[in-house]
């Protein structure tokens, strides 16, 4: 109870909610990738993928791969998180209003979790299609044969995949928003008992 009182300034404001809002606003305003995969030697890259729910950029041999639906999907993700951030802020400031509870949503946590799950499934599907194992993180070598002028050319591409700091910030924002929801629930329970 003491922790809930401390984190809510004795029921006046939901501090984790405000912290989650700030982190979510930072996350939604950033175009930096959450996950990246590069196949490069020195500064020359065979391919690069810089992916977040708000910006997806894939290049192969220095040329971009465009999928028309991507800007719309990233816009949907950005608007969803923006809505969640604003709602959490309103719910956290107007904590004494009975209708503030549904304002504290879990969207901030759902997005990084879904992102990771989607990425894992996407890599499995892409890997089985290409006949190679594509890991979520770590260094690896891609070996594949390309037909060229009647010959079979073997290609070796050293690659590295990693989750970036921005992913962990987004996950932290989501975890804090979950904490904010739990505190809000506890405060509502206290209020109804009192």
């Amino acid at each position: 109870m003491m922790l809930v009182d401390a984190l809510s300034l004795n029921g006046r404001v939901n501090l984790p909610g405000i912290a989650a809002t700030l982190l979510l606003l930072y996350t939604v305003s950033s175009n930096r990738p959450w996950w990246r995969m590069h196949g490069c030697i020195e500064d020359q890259c065979t391919f690069s993928a810089n992916i977040s729910p708000f910006a997806i950029a894939v290049e192969i041999l220095g040329r971009p791969v465009n999928v028309p639906i991507i800007p719309y999907l990233t816009l949907a993700a950005r608007l969803s998180i923006l809505l969640a951030a604003i709602a959490i802020l309103v719910g956290s400031v107007l904590v004494r209003k009975p209708w503030s509870k549904p304002m504290i949503s879990m969207t901030g946590l759902a997005l990084p979790v879904t992102f990771l799950l989607g990425l894992f499934i996407g890599l499995k599907v892409a890997g089985s299609y290409l006949g190679i194992d594509l890991p979520l993180t770590g260094k690896f070598e891609m070996r594949y044969a390309v037909p060229y002028g009647g010959l079979s050319i073997n290609v070796l591409t050293p690659a590295v995949a990693s989750l970036t700091d921005d992913y962990w910030i987004a996950l932290t924002a989501g975890a804090i928003s979950a904490l904010a929801k739990a505190i809000h629930g506890r405060m509502s329970a206290e209020k109804s008992q009192g």
Binding site: I41, R63, P64, V67, P68, I69, A87, P102, I153, L156
Partner: protein, 175 residues
């Protein structure tokens, strides 16, 4: 009031989540195929190597090739693992790349191969020199090319003619 806020929040969440996708579908005439089809135009990768001559530099035999880059991307020849074969298919000498070669799009570069031809190799080829005065040598192997952050292994087959004069220029005995 709580139920109303909950309904409004759920409606808004669905609206902002699905709105852009519905808008996209509307923009593409409700045809999902062009919306999810990736578009990509790869750069042209086209390079050719052809034998241009045999040279003796500092009593070392060299096969010279011409590398023509007709593509849109630069490449670098970084290594060669090849063997020179005599007319009957016998291995006569290992062949390596004298130095790496960087080729930019549209350029024509000279590629020099070191042929480690020993006196023993020449001895094995003597009967051909006696008969015709020259020997046709075939080089087979793999060339290692760095292209845009990948190491590409390309099969290489080329041939050249080794004359009695070439062997003499090497300082080796030839009948």
């Amino acid at each position: 009031m709580v139920s109303v806020v909950r309904i409004v929040m759920i409606s808004l969440s669905i609206g902002v989540g699905l709105g852009p996708i519905v808008f996209a579908l509307n923009q593409y005439g409700w045809n999902i195929t062009p919306l999810i089809t990736p578009s990509y135009s790869p750069p042209k990768v086209d390079f050719r190597m052809e034998f241009t001559g045999f040279r003796v530099i500092d009593k070392e035999p060299k096969a010279v090739l011409r590398l023509t880059n007709l593509g849109e991307i630069g490449l670098e020849l970084v290594g060669l693992n090849a063997t020179a074969y005599g007319p009957s298919g016998e291995a006569v000498a290992p062949v390596t790349l004298a130095h790496p070669v960087t080729s930019s799009p549209g350029s024509v570069k000279e590629v020099v191969l070191d042929i480690s031809l020993s006196e023993g190799s020449v001895t094995r080829l003597l009967p051909y020199f006696r008969d015709r005065g020259y020997v046709d040598i075939e080089v087979k192997g793999e060339v290692f090319v760095k292209v845009f952050g990948s190491v590409v292994t390309v099969p290489l087959t080329t041939s050249f003619r080794l004359s009695r004069e070439d062997v003499k220029a090497l300082g080796l005995e030839c009948p």
